[in-house]
């Protein structure tokens, strides 16, 4: 059969967003692949230059629908670095709790999308149902379900509602029991293992060369986690492990994310236990000084980075966003070539694409 190019995207169930993966297939085998991104470019970095510092927080939420809290937190962290604002300790702990909840919610959403990529509807529905618990908690804390707009420059928007911490602990227990139940559907299922093991190999060297970060990098055997290697917030006080696996295939990526969910539950428990009383917010200055600020966080999808330049006014002179997915997607051809057409969804699903932050 002759080789042909197939456009998987921009509107395609595999893409989880709006991007185009052009694959060249020989029958069912992939010969070449070429990701194209940029369909969702909204010019967020430019819009930020016309908005005052607090007004950018809801915009930073819109960077990623899967884990919006991470990005608004990253933005606030960066601007605090620029302005030199001290964040109260309680606010830092609240931030850690919400961030880990966001990580859990994001990974569960990834699991749901991954299950439906592989054709397993049960996995999709169960993961989305269990994500609801976390979303409800974050809603009762921040007032919104998807774009939370919760962190503020110099703290967080609201204090914890009464009994919230107890419900968060209960949610941790719930998620852990559910994670055990998922084993039946995922790694207990022979077909799931057939679809995942030894599919989409990404070697350690390739991953390092291509700048892949986050779970795909850790699944290739590199222990690199911003929370441990360059601790921000209060992560240095908390006890958790960096999950890593040496194999570098789709199953390793799946397993790394599942292990991270267990670690997130652990972190939430510790953070709630250690949370001090006190203020949760300080008054942020209106104008930033002349200078630069830098923030780096461990997004659920990889390393997110923001760089802001202040010029003394109440608007940033320049805001640069480093998106993990924009860089990870460039590793797609080296992972895809040689596998079958049906493996495209498994491999690209394993990267957890989020086009909002990728195209900005």
């Amino acid at each position: 059969m002759a080789e042909m190019w197939i456009n998987m995207g921009p509107q395609h169930p595999m893409t989880h967003g709006l991007w185009n993966l052009r694959v060249k297939v020989d029958g069912e085998t992939i010969v070449d692949a070429e990701p194209e991104v940029g369909y969702l470019h909204r010019g967020i970095e430019k819009i930020c230059e016309n908005r005052t510092y607090p007004q950018i927080i809801p915009l930073a939420d819109r960077l990623c629908y899967g884990s919006s809290l991470t990005w608004s937190h990253l933005y606030c962290m960066t601007v605090e670095d620029l302005m030199g604002v001290e964040v109260p300790e309680r606010a830092e702990y609240i931030r850690v709790v919400t961030l880990e909840m966001q990580r859990l919610a994001s990974h569960l959403m990834w699991l749901a999308a991954y299950a439906v990529d592989l054709g397993m509807m049960a996995g999709f529905i169960y993961s989305m149902r269990d994500r609801e618990v976390l979303v409800d908690l974050l809603q009762s804390l921040s007032g919104s379900r998807l774009t939370y707009n919760y962190p503020r420059i110099g703290g967080v928007a609201h204090d914890l509602p009464p009994n919230w911490d107890r419900e968060a602990l209960r949610a941790c227990n719930y998620i852990e029991t559910r994670l055990k139940e998922y084993e039946d559907l995922y790694e207990g299922s022979k077909i799931f293992m057939m679809r995942n093991v030894d599919v989409g190999l990404l070697t350690k060297e390739d991953a390092l060369d291509l700048g892949v970060t986050g779970p795909p990098l850790r699944a290739s055997g590199v222990r690199y986690d911003m929370r441990k290697d360059r601790p921000y917030s209060v992560y240095s006080d908390l006890d958790f492990e960096v999950c890593s696996r040496p194999e570098g295939d789709c199953f390793a990526r799946y397993r790394v994310r599942i292990d991270e969910m267990w670690e997130s539950c652990k972190i939430i428990r510790q953070a709630i236990q250690r949370m001090p009383k006190g203020k949760w917010r300080t008054v942020a200055p209106r104008n930033a000084p002349v200078g630069t600020g830098l923030g780096r966080v461990e997004d659920p999808r990889g390393e997110g980075m923001m760089y802001v330049v202040g010029d003394g006014s109440d608007k940033p002179y320049r805001l640069k966003i480093r998106s993990p997915i924009f860089i990870t997607v460039s590793a797609a051809p080296s992972m895809l070539v040689g596998y079958k057409m049906a493996d495209v969804v498994a491999i690209m699903g394993g990267l957890d694409m989020c086009i909002g932050e990728c195209d900005r």
Binding site: L118, R129, M194, R195
Partner: protein
């Protein structure tokens, strides 16, 4: 009284009713009109016409039963998958009967939608493919009786054709050709790959499927459904041929394209597979027919392995048959909603390396039983 006699009675009654009119007209009108109407009456009362009309009525009844079953199946599938997925399923449309009317509402919606034919599609093939798919699927039901008294393809005394099983499986195997036709004529790369996958998939499941059927036929010593079901009077074939039942269910799941084996319409990688370009009621026909094939698959498994209509005589035979067919369908759907999809090379591997040896083993077991003389027929 079997179905033929029942329909025959209705037709004879109807013909007599109408013939009264024709003969009355023949009497009152002048001769040049009257003879014409008397001739019509004579033709309508003739034996050949009555038999043909009886068969038409029979087919209509079987099709209506099948369509009602399909509605039930879609409803059952949605309710079942709803509870499996922790939600309600259809609820408000037909609130008193558990949301049963939702399918009718969906069908009505599909009827009023526009049918789009892609500009560069091969029009003849594109429009012919649903016809072949639906028609061949209805053909499967032609020889499957719900009971000795309810089924078509009989002679006037109610004896079924002897090669019913062969015909049913032959009709079952037509569908991949229409799928390939639909995929190719849509002029779309995704549909083309879907159609090709369907053809490749058929290679892998058809041979083990027919081998298990051969083992059943061997044990029963008959090619007709009535003979096979009668042979299961003492023991269902599911017990001696358990391996065969498992292989048969897997192959039927592949045949009716439910999730572990729905490669031709793999919605994640090929947008909607071979049905991508179809819209409106043509898509609705495909969907309805896939459930119809699920019904046919359940009925075949019932007749071949689960003792057909045999059961305690508290409830009629037909209901026993339908209960068993529904159970098989529920098991297949349950499997559908809880498993991921296999890859195209894996289904070939599964078919040739796992299912074929098992089917041959099954045939060996059946032959052993037969030579031991435990099953006579």
């Amino acid at each position: 009284m079997n179905l033929f006699q029942f329909c025959n009675g209705i037709i004879v009654w109807l013909v007599e009713l109408v013939n009264n009119l024709w003969y009355w007209l023949g009497d009152v009108l002048p001769w040049y009109f009257g003879d014409f109407f008397t001739g019509i009456g004579d033709f309508a009362g003739s034996h050949g016409h009555i038999v043909v009309m009886t068969i038409v009525l029979e087919s209509l009844m079987v099709i209506i039963v099948a369509l009602i079953n399909v509605l039930n199946f879609i409803w059952l599938d949605r309710k079942l998958s709803g509870r499996i997925f922790d939600f309600y399923g259809p609820y408000y449309v037909g609130y008193r009967i558990g949301g049963w009317l939702q399918n009718l509402a969906d069908g009505m919606k599909l009827f009023v939608k526009e049918i789009i034919v892609p500009a560069k599609a091969d029009k003849l093939g594109f429009l012919l493919a649903p016809v072949i798919f639906v028609g061949s699927s209805f053909l499967i039901l032609a020889t499957i009786p719900l009971s000795p008294n309810f089924g078509i393809a009989t002679n006037e005394s109610g004896e079924f054709v002897t090669a019913g099983v062969l015909f049913a499986f032959a009709a079952f195997a037509i569908a991949p050709f229409s799928i390939l036709l639909a995929g190719w004529s849509s002029n779309n790369k995704f549909t083309l790959i879907g159609g090709m996958r369907s053809a490749a998939q058929m290679m892998s499941y058809e041979i083990p499927l027919l081998l298990t059927v051969a083992s059943v036929v061997l044990l029963a010593g008959s090619f007709s459904f009535v003979g096979i079901v009668d042979a299961q009077h003492d023991i269902w074939f599911a017990i001696p041929l358990f391996i065969g039942l498992v292989v048969f269910l897997v192959c039927i799941a592949a045949e009716v394209e439910v999730t572990p084996f729905d490669l031709p319409e793999a919605e994640a990688e090929l947008v909607e597979g071979w049905t991508t370009e179809y819209s409106g009621m043509r898509f609705g026909l495909f969907m309805m027919t896939s459930y119809l094939r699920g019904y046919a698959g359940g009925a075949l498994a019932t007749a071949l392995f689960l003792g057909g209509w045999q059961g305690p005589s508290l409830i009629p035979d037909e209901i026993w048959f339908l209960i068993k067919a529904y159970t098989v369908f529920v098991v297949i759907e349950w499997m559908r909603w809880s498993l991921p999809r296999v890859r195209v090379d894996q289904i070939l591997e599964l078919g040739w390396k796992r299912l074929l040896p098992l089917a041959v083993l099954n045939l060996l077991i059946a032959a052993t039983f037969k030579t031991m003389g435990w099953f006579s027929g």
